[in-house]
C-alpha cells in the first residue's frame, strides 16, 4: 500500500516498471476509493452474469408466467411487467448479455486499437500517414447514426451484428491514444538500447513497448466497454436490438412501448436503467482511476495533517 518515496522523487525508469506494472496497478486500485468502488460494482455484476441462479429462482425470464403488472412483493422483488414477466429475474438474467457485449467489444476493440495504433507509430512515414488517416476518419464519422443505419438494414441486430458494429466504430479512439504514446516511447532510451542490441522489431514491440503501455491499454479496454454498454443499450432501447433477447436495454424498450411511466409501472423503467448506469459507472470509475495511474500529476494531493512538521 506504500508508494516508495524514491518513486515520487526520482525520474521513473520505464524499464523498471515492466515487472512492477501489475503490482503497481493492484496497489493503486486498492488505494483509490474510486477504483475500489468501480471494481466492486463490476465484480457484483460479473457474479450475477455467471451465476444468475444465486440471485433468482426463475429459470426463463421471458416466461410470461405471472400476473400482469404486479407491484413489488416478496415473490416478485420488483413486480412484474405488463406481459407477466418477473422484473427482477429479467434484470438478473439480462446481466449476462450486457456483460458479454461489454467484454467482447472491449477486448476486440482494444486488440484492434493496439494493432493499428502501435503499428502506425512504429512504421512511421507513409504507413503511419495512411493508418493515421484511417484512424482520424473513423474517429470522426458519427458512430451512432452509422450503427443505426447498419442495424436497420440488418433488420434488427442479433448479438453478433451488434458486437461487430460496436467494435468497428469503437476502436479508433484507443488507437489514436496508443499511437501517441507509442510515438513518445519510441524515442526513449531503453528502446534505443534494444535496437542497438540487435533485437528484432517484433521483440521490441512486444517485450519492451507494450509493458509500458499496459495502463493505457487497460484504460482503453474500460473505455470501450463503457461505450459498448451505453451504445448497445441505446440500440436496444430504440428497438434495434434482438427483440427476444434478455437485456436491460430491451427491457427498457418494452417498458417504453407499454408506456410504463404513464401507467404507474415506474420500477420497470427505473430498474434496468439503474443497472446500466451502475455498470457504466463501474467502468467509468475504473477508467478514471487508470487515468490517474498513468498520469502522476493527477494523483490526489493528500493533506497529511498528522504528519505536519510545524515551523
Amino acid at each position: 500500500m506504500t508508494l516508495s518515496t524514491a518513486n515520487v522523487l526520482e525520474p521513473s525508469v520505464a524499464k523498471g516498471r515492466r515487472n512492477g506494472a501489475g503490482m503497481a496497478i493492484w496497489r493503486a486500485i486498492r488505494s483509490s476509493g474510486k477504483a475500489l468502488t468501480g471494481a466492486i460494482l463490476l465484480f457484483i455484476f460479473l457474479i450475477a452474469a455467471i451465476f444468475p441462479q444465486l440471485f433468482t429462482s426463475v429459470k426463463d425470464p421471458n416466461d410470461r408466467a405471472y400476473g400482469l403488472s404486479l407491484p413489488p412483493s416478496g415473490e416478485h422483488l420488483l413486480g412484474t411487467t405488463s406481459f407477466g414477466q418477473d422484473i427482477w429475474a429479467q434484470l438478473v438474467w439480462g446481466t449476462r448479455e450486457t456483460l458479454i457485449i461489454a467484454v467482447a467489444v472491449g477486448v476486440l476493440a482494444s486488440v484492434l486499437s493496439v494493432l493499428i495504433g502501435v503499428t502506425a507509430a512504429y512504421l512511421g512515414g507513409i504507413g503511419d500517414g495512411v493508418l493515421s488517416l484511417l484512424i482520424d476518419v473513423f474517429l470522426v464519422i458519427p458512430a451512432f447514426p452509422l450503427i443505426i443505419v447498419i442495424a436497420a438494414y440488418a433488420n434488427g441486430g442479433n448479438l453478433a451484428v451488434i458486437i461487430l458494429v460496436l467494435v468497428v466504430t469503437g476502436w479508433s479512439y484507443g488507437a489514436r491514444q496508443l499511437r501517441a504514446q507509442a510515438l513518445s516511447l519510441r524515442r526513449r532510451d531503453f528502446l534505443e538500447s534494444a535496437r542497438v542490441r540487435g533485437e528484432r522489431r517484433s521483440y521490441i514491440v512486444i517485450f519492451e513497448m507494450l509493458p509500458s503501455m499496459v495502463s493505457l491499454i487497460a484504460a482503453n479496454f474500460l473505455g470501450a466497454a463503457l461505450y459498448a454498454v451505453l451504445t448497445a443499450a441505446g440500440l436496444q432501447f430504440i428497438g434495434l436490438g434482438s427483440p427476444s433477447s434478455v437485456s436491460w436495454g430491451t427491457m427498457l424498450h418494452w417498458a417504453q412501448t407499454a408506456e410504463a411511466l404513464q401507467t404507474g409501472q415506474a420500477l420497470w423503467i427505473i430498474a434496468p436503467g439503474l443497472c446500466i448506469a451502475l455498470l457504466g459507472a463501474g467502468f467509468a470509475l475504473m477508467n478514471y482511476a487508470f487515468d490517474e495511474i498513468s498520469n502522476p500529476a493527477l494523483r490526489r494531493v493528500r493533506r497529511n495533517r498528522r504528519n505536519n512538521v510545524g515551523k
Binding site: 508508494l3 518515496t5 510545524g310
Partner: protein, 361 residues
C-alpha cells in the same frame, strides 16, 4: 560544533549600486532552511538546514549532482515551492525581511522588482500562447505601470541589453531560437533592475559556445547594473570561472561553502575534491580521471552519519555514526569530520583549523 556565520566578503566583486551603508549587511541571508516533500508515508527532507549568504553584486554559485536538492533550495528561497513541497523550517532574510513568513500579498511587491528568477528552459518557462512583449508587459502592469509607451520603451530597452532585436517583442516563444529564448528570459528578469537574480541552470540546455556567450553576457550585465546572482548548475567548470563564492551541495546539505578560488585550488571536502578530479584540465598535465563511484543516497534512506560516507575514499569509523557539522577550514566551511576540532581520524597527523591535511585511511 563550530558553525560560524562566516560572511566572507567577495574580494573581486563589482561596485554595488545602492546605499553604501547597507554594504555590510548581506543582501540575502538564508538560515537553517529546510524543505520537505509531503509523501503518503510522511515528510521527506529534500533540503536540510542550509545556510547561505549573498552580498550585493556578488555571484554565488551552487553546484551538486542531480537530485541533491539545489533547485528545490532555490525555489524554496524564492518562495516558489508548490505542494507537496514546503518549507518546514528556517528563514530567508532578503534585505532584512524574512520572506518565509510573508504572505502572497506582502511578497508581491518584492517579486520581480527586487528578486527575479531565470529558469532552466525558456521554452517551458515562457507562456507558449503569449507574445514576448505581452509577457513583459503583464509583469510591469502587475507592479503598477500603466503607460503603454513606457512599458514598450522599457521592454525594448531590456531586449537591447541582451542583444535581441526589438521586433521580437511581437514574437511567440516558439518562434525564437533556443539561445535567443534564454536571453529573452534573462531580459525579462532585468525589467526592474532587481538586486538579486536567482538562476536555475539557465545554460544547461545550450551548446558550449552559446553557454559561454550567455555567461559572459550575464557577467557583463552584472558589471553594468550591479545585481547579485545566485546561480545553480551541475557544471563545475562553468561555475568556477564566473562565481565569486561557491556552495557545493550534497544530498540536501551544504558540503562546502567559500570563495570559489579557494574551493577550487584547495578543496576541503572529499566530495568537492572528487568533483574536481573528475574534470580534466585543458592545459595541465594529463592525470587519470577519477569519477566518484556509487550514487547519492535516496532521500528516504539517509545514512545515519555523514551522508557522503558510503562513497568517500577518506572515510573512517566515526563517519558512519557521527553527523558532521560545517567546520571552518582555511577560510571556507566544509562538512567533514576531518576538520572537526573534536573528532580525530585514527591514523593521521592531527589536522588543525588552518592547514588541512589529508588523513591516511
Amino acid at each position: 560544533m563550530s558553525e560560524s556565520n562566516v560572511t566572507v566578503r567577495a574580494t573581486a566583486s563589482e561596485d554595488a549600486t545602492g546605499d553604501e551603508t547597507l554594504d555590510s549587511v548581506p543582501l540575502l541571508e538564508v538560515h537553517r532552511l529546510t524543505v520537505v516533500y509531503d509523501t503518503p508515508t510522511g515528510p521527506v527532507i529534500a533540503v536540510d538546514n542550509i545556510d547561505l549568504t549573498v552580498n550585493r553584486g556578488e555571484f554565488v554559485g551552487v553546484v551538486g549532482e542531480s537530485g541533491c536538492g539545489k533547485s528545490t533550495m532555490l525555489f524554496g528561497i524564492a518562495q516558489l515551492l508548490s505542494p507537496p513541497a514546503r518549507i518546514s523550517a528556517g528563514e530567508v532574510l532578503f534585505r532584512g525581511r524574512n520572506l518565509v513568513t510573508m504572505n502572497d500579498k506582502q511578497l508581491a511587491p518584492v517579486r520581480w522588482q527586487n528578486l527575479s528568477v531565470v529558469m532552466q528552459s525558456a521554452m517551458n518557462a515562457l507562456n507558449p500562447v503569449q507574445r514576448i512583449g505581452a509577457q513583459y508587459a503583464d509583469t510591469m502592469k502587475a507592479h503598477g505601470a500603466s503607460n503603454k509607451a513606457e512599458i514598450r520603451t522599457r521592454s525594448e530597452e531590456v531586449l537591447g541589453m541582451v542583444g535581441i532585436d526589438k521586433i521580437h517583442l511581437d514574437s511567440y516563444p516558439h518562434q525564437l531560437s533556443g539561445g535567443m529564448r534564454q536571453r529573452a528570459m534573462i531580459a525579462m528578469a532585468l525589467l526592474f533592475t532587481p538586486e538579486l537574480i536567482i538562476m536555475d541552470e539557465p545554460t544547461s540546455a545550450l551548446d558550449v559556445v552559446a553557454q559561454r556567450s550567455l555567461m559572459l553576457q550575464i557577467k557583463e550585465l552584472q558589471h553594468q547594473l550591479g545585481f547579485a546572482v545566485l546561480f545553480v548548475t551541475h557544471d563545475m567548470s562553468l561555475v568556477s570561472h564566473f562565481s565569486d563564492r561557491l556552495l557545493v551541495m550534497y544530498a540536501g546539505q551544504a558540503a562546502e561553502f567559500g570563495e570559489t578560488r579557494t574551493v577550487f585550488d584547495t578543496p576541503a571536502h572529499p566530495y568537492s575534491k572528487g568533483l574536481l578530479e573528475a574534470f580534466p584540465s585543458l592545459r595541465g598535465p594529463k592525470v587519470p580521471l577519477v569519477g566518484i563511484p556509487g550514487s547519492p543516497p535516496a532521500l528516504s534512506a539517509m545514512p545515519p552519519g555523514c551522508r557522503y560516507e558510503p562513497r568517500c575514499p577518506l572515510a573512517y569509523a566515526d563517519c558512519k555514526t557521527v553527523k558532521p557539522e560545517l567546520y571552518e577550514v582555511n577560510g571556507v566551511l566544509a562538512r567533514c569530520l576531518l576538520y572537526s576540532p573534536h573528532n580525530r581520524p585514527k591514523t593521521s597527523t592531527e589536522p588543525d583549523d588552518t592547514t588541512p591535511t589529508e588523513g591516511k585511511p
